[in-house]
Structures are given as structure tokens and as C-alpha cells.
């Protein structure tokens, strides 16, 4: 128990020490302070989940910076891929017909509404440059739910557009 409190203190100290410079770095690379902040928060989430090892890493600050690079690269790659997906979707003649989830899934009884809402969410995140948190808060959902909905529409569009 004592050890976990100590870990928490270490995390807080590290966060306060590194946050500003990590955001400065990420802003330079990504060109957007909001996305930069999200990349840094995401990096610290990964750090905390693996705190047992990361805190005892010989160079935790180096770990954070290297992981931030990986997070940003991942972010850029997926956002670019989703951008292409949206562009391809917008070129489909009857987009509204495409945007209907398979109704066999009980969660998606209103498949058309869900798909359109998810598509709007995807556009907010990719075309409008919103962070996952910004898009999530607009919808009154958590970042995790937002991620799942983006994942869902992304997988769906990838599958559907493969048929075109």
C-alpha cells in the first residue's frame, strides 16, 4: 500500500515536471495544441497503466518522450487513414444508403441513425480536427465510448468501401 502511494507521488511529480515540455514538443510536431495535449495525456495513461515497470525504468523521462513519439505517429497515421476513408465515402453516390449498420446487431436496431451519428463523430475528429475528448464531450460520452464509436464506423466503412 505504502509503495502504491509512493508510485502516485512519483507519477504526479513526473507529470508536473514533464507536461509543459511534452506539450511544447507535441505542438511543434502536430501543429495543434489541443491534439498535442491529448497526445500527452494519452502517453501518461500508457505510463500509468504500466507504472510498475515504467516508474522503475532506468530513464522514465526518456520512456515518456519515446512513447509520445509513438503515440503521435500512431495518431497521424490513423487520422490520415480516416481522412482518406471519409474522402472516399463522400465520393460514394448514395452515401445515406451506405450509412446503415447491420441491424442484426441488437445494439444497432436503429442502424441508420447510429451509423450517421458515428459518421458525424468521425468527421468531427478527423476533418474538424477535434480531439477525442472534445468530440466525446459534445456527445456527452466518455473518451473511451468515443473511441469505440470511431472504431466502429471506421471498420464498417473500410468493409463497405472495399465493395466499391
Amino acid at each position: 500500500m505504502g509503495n502504491s502511494i509512493s508510485d502516485e507521488e512519483q507519477i504526479t511529480t513526473l507529470y508536473r515536471d514533464m507536461y509543459g515540455r511534452m506539450v511544447a514538443y507535441a505542438s511543434s510536431v502536430l501543429g495543434d495544441p489541443h491534439l498535442a495535449e491529448e497526445a500527452v495525456q494519452d502517453t501518461f495513461c500508457l505510463f500509468c497503466v504500466k507504472a510498475d515497470t515504467t516508474l522503475r525504468h532506468e530513464n522514465p523521462r526518456g520512456w515518456l518522450m519515446r512513447t509520445l513519439q509513438n503515440v503521435m505517429r500512431n495518431m497521424q497515421r490513423h487520422r490520415a487513414a480516416m481522412n482518406r476513408l471519409i474522402m472516399r465515402s463522400l465520393q460514394v453516390e448514395h452515401l445515406e444508403e451506405l450509412l446503415v449498420y447491420d441491424e442484426e446487431d441488437v445494439d444497432l436496431l436503429y442502424g441508420d441513425l447510429a451509423a450517421r451519428a458515428d459518421f458525424q463523430l468521425l468527421k468531427r475528429v478527423v476533418l474538424d480536427g477535434c480531439t477525442m475528448l472534445e468530440a466525446a464531450e459534445e456527445q456527452g460520452i466518455t473518451v473511451e465510448a468515443c473511441k469505440k464509436r470511431v472504431q466502429r464506423i471506421r471498420a464498417y466503412l473500410k468493409q463497405k468501401l472495399a465493395d466499391f
Binding site: Y25, F44, C48, R73, G129, M132, V150
Partner: protein, 426 residues
């Protein structure tokens, strides 16, 4: 600052003197290099720390609260942007080894040179290229790690078709309500057929695009008008081919390669243009070149009035007889509000360029020169620096936050007399 592995043998103080934009450029270039494992984490931390100190301080308390309430509770070991299926391999984190203690800094130094070369293309090299009779609009910027030059584009333009008058009129009629007329290319490569103009209205932007269909390939032109201020306009996927900058009408297009396609994009703070598809570099440049020149230009008198509004005089030289104005460049950076203006004059084979840059921050124009000494010429209590560059003479000086420069072919003008003339009319 505290670095992860303090090492007194390494001196990063050279970064202290660099401008914020240069440091940011270095970080971006390092980020590209980091994919190949070349990143110098100690240097990156030092530079990031410098930038953090120069910026307004981060609100760490709010960030921490947001982290604790909105991100961390949902953390489960995968990045928010790791959107692949659960079975997909984890893209991160890669646990790094401790930074090497005696890592050579050559890479970052080379990057510093490259950053400087990129900045040089703003005015110096571009103006020289124009002056040398090379049409910038038909020239290609080429650089290696050490050099930056303009060379003429491949002989003859790629073959293609311009929109006919009826098509153009139709296109303009559709684009005018969107304030996008004059932003679309008017030429397309042979073998492509333009589709219909499609307009999509989104939450904070309106985009108009045309798909050009070829026999077995396609490319798209998209113009996106951001109706709300944006700090991010999307991310482009690219391979490891270096990004090329191509200047047209004072706007820099970034040409990115991604496997078998090219993307050219430019953004002026409000409008973003993207040309993407299976195109050659020559074709994509020819498409860019067909975007009409902006109708806005600024006559010297208008420039004088504009500077006067800010309490500044314009020191305009007496252009020698026989020189006729030809090309003019005028651009105001929508973000920094820096003003760039230049005018090319020609008299037969001789040229003269007079230009003004009204800086918003520290001056960062870089001029090319040869290895002959720089002459300092003091007149009107202002230091003017005169130097040569392989067949041309340059003079540059600062008045307040405004930078003046002149390029002339050797022997075309008496540079000192020209400088003196600038103060006579004021």
C-alpha cells in the same frame, strides 16, 4: 533545465540563439528521423524545454485534473488512437534504452542547416531565381542537406487540357458563392476527365471537390474553406520521400509522396487546397501552376500608405531609367501578419528586385552569398550590408522592424546611389 540523463559534456546552448520557428522545425525534422531511430532525446528535451519556457506557461493543474477525471479512468493500456482491432499488435510503447551518452550531434546540425535552407526559400533564393530569369512558377526547388537551389523544370510542360470557357464559367458560377473562385486549378493532365463539382458542408468548413477520372487512375482537387479558426487541418499520410515545397503565387505548396500517389497541399489560414492522386511531380506542379494568380496586388503607393498607417515611412529607391516593373509579389501571412512585398524590374537582360518584409517577430530572412566579404555602408544613420552572390549584388538593411533588400545583376546599378536615393524622396 533537468535532462533525463544530465551530462555536462554535452552543450546544447547553441539552440538558445535559434528562433522559435527554427526550433519547431528542428523538432519536426527530428520526429521524421525518429522513425529511423535517429532521434536525440536529450537534445529534444532541451529544445522542448526552451520552447515551453518561451510559450505562456502550461496550466498543469487543469491538465492534471483533466487527466485524472477524463482520461486516466478509461486507460487500459492502449492508446486512444490505436484504433485497430483488439487482436492487432500494440504499436506502442516502445521502451527506449537510456540515451547514449556520447551521441554525435551531426544529425541535428544537419537538420539545422536544412531548416535554414527552408527558411532561405522564403525570399532570398526565390528572388534570385526570378532575377536570374528563371520563372519561379516553372522552376523546381531542389535541395540536399547542404544546398538549396532552384533549377528549371523539365523541358516543356506535361501535356494536358485547360477547362474550356464554358466549363470555366460554369465552375466559377458554382464556386463564387463559396468564395472559392480563382482557387481551383484550370488545367488537368491529358487522359483525365473532370467529374462534377461536389460541395460538402460540414460543421466548421465547406469543401468543394472535383474528381478527375483517368483510364486506370484518379485524382481529386479539394478546396476547403474553414469557417471557424482552425489550428489543425488534418494530417496527411506520407512515405519517407522528402517533402518538397513548391511556391506558386506566393503560396507554398507542400508536395508529399505516399507510395503510388502524390498530395500537394497549401493552407493560408482560411482556405486549404489539396490535390491528391496518381500524378507525376511534373503533372501536379502544372496543376498547381494553373491556379490563377490572386487578383490582389499592391502598388508602391499602396504599400507606402499601409506602412504609414503603422507610423512607418517607406524608403523606396529611385528605380534607374529603363527598368520596367514586371512581376510583383505581395503576401500577408494570415497568422503572423508579416508582410512580404517585392517587385522585379527588368531592363533587357538586367534585373533589379526591390523588396520589403515587415516582420512580426525577429527577422529571419536568409540571403545567399558567395565567399567575398560583406561591405557595411552607413548612410542616413542606417547600416546597409552589401554583398555579392555569383553574378548578382545584394543590399539588405533594417529600418525598425522592416527589412529592405535589393538584388541586382552585377553592373546593372550603382547600389550605393540606389540606397541613397531611397532616402531622398522621404
Amino acid at each position: 533545465m533537468s535532462t533525463p540523463e544530465p551530462n555536462k559534456k554535452r552543450d546544447y546552448s547553441r539552440y538558445d540563439q535559434m528562433s522559435t520557428s527554427e526550433l519547431e522545425q528542428l523538432l519536426r525534422l527530428d520526429f521524421q528521423a525518429a522513425e529511423r531511430g535517429d532521434s536525440d532525446l536529450d537534445a529534444i528535451l532541451y529544445i522542448s524545454d526552451l520552447l515551453a519556457k518561451r510559450n505562456s506557461p502550461a496550466d498543469t493543474d487543469s491538465a492534471w485534473e483533466q487527466f485524472e477525471t477524463k482520461y486516466r479512468p478509461y486507460a487500459h493500456g492502449r492508446s486512444l488512437y490505436d484504433l485497430d482491432d483488439g487482436q492487432a499488435p500494440q504499436p506502442q510503447p516502445a521502451v527506449p534504452p537510456a540515451p547514449p551518452r556520447f551521441r554525435p550531434v551531426r544529425l541535428l546540425r544537419r537538420m539545422a542547416l536544412l531548416a535554414a535552407a527552408l527558411i532561405a526559400c522564403l525570399l532570398g533564393a526565390m528572388a534570385v531565381a526570378q532575377a536570374a530569369g528563371v520563372d519561379v512558377l516553372g522552376a523546381i526547388a531542389r535541395w540536399t542537406d547542404e544546398t538549396f537551389v532552384f533549377v528549371p523544370a523539365a523541358s516543356g510542360p506535361p501535356s494536358g487540357t485547360s477547362f474550356d470557357e464554358e466549363e470555366l464559367a460554369q465552375l466559377h458560377a458554382s464556386l463564387q458563392p463559396l468564395d472559392m473562385e480563382g482557387r481551383f486549378p484550370t488545367w488537368y493532365p491529358e487522359g483525365f476527365v473532370p467529374g462534377e463539382l461536389e460541395v460538402t458542408e460540414l460543421h466548421s468548413s465547406v469543401s468543394a471537390h472535383i474528381v478527375f477520372l483517368g483510364e486506370d487512375c484518379v485524382y481529386t482537387v479539394v478546396v476547403q474553406h474553414y469557417t471557424q479558426p482552425q489550428t489543425n487541418t488534418g494530417i496527411f499520410e506520407k512515405d519517407d520521400t522528402p517533402v518538397e515545397q513548391y511556391v506558386h503565387n506566393g503560396q507554398t505548396f507542400y508536395i508529399l509522396s505516399n507510395l503510388d500517389s502524390l498530395t500537394a497541399t497549401t493552407y493560408d489560414g482560411e482556405f486549404m487546397t489539396m490535390i491528391n492522386g496518381s500524378l507525376t511531380r511534373e503533372e501536379i506542379k502544372a496543376i498547381i501552376d494553373s491556379i490563377p494568380a490572386p487578383s490582389s496586388s499592391l502598388e508602391p503607393e499602396q504599400l507606402r500608405e499601409r506602412l504609414a498607417q503603422e507610423g512607418q515611412s517607406l524608403y523606396f529607391p529611385q528605380i534607374p531609367e529603363g527598368f520596367e516593373p514586371t512581376q510583383s509579389q505581395y503576401y500577408v501571412d494570415p497568422i503572423t501578419e508579416e508582410l512580404f512585398w517585392s517587385q522585379l524590374y527588368q531592363r533587357g537582360e538586367e534585373f533589379l528586385i526591390f523588396g520589403v518584409t515587415k516582420h512580426a517577430g525577429a527577422p529571419d530572412n536568409i540571403y545567399e552569398k558567395d565567399d567575398t566579404p560583406v561591405e557595411q555602408y552607413v548612410y542616413h544613420q542606417v547600416s546597409h550590408y552589401i554583398f555579392s552572390n555569383n553574378g548578382s549584388t545584394t543590399a539588405a538593411w533594417m529600418v525598425g522592424d522592416t527589412e529592405y533588400y535589393m538584388f541586382a545583376s552585377d553592373g546593372a546599378v550603382d547600389m550605393k546611389a540606389l540606397i541613397r536615393s531611397a532616402y531622398e524622396a522621404v
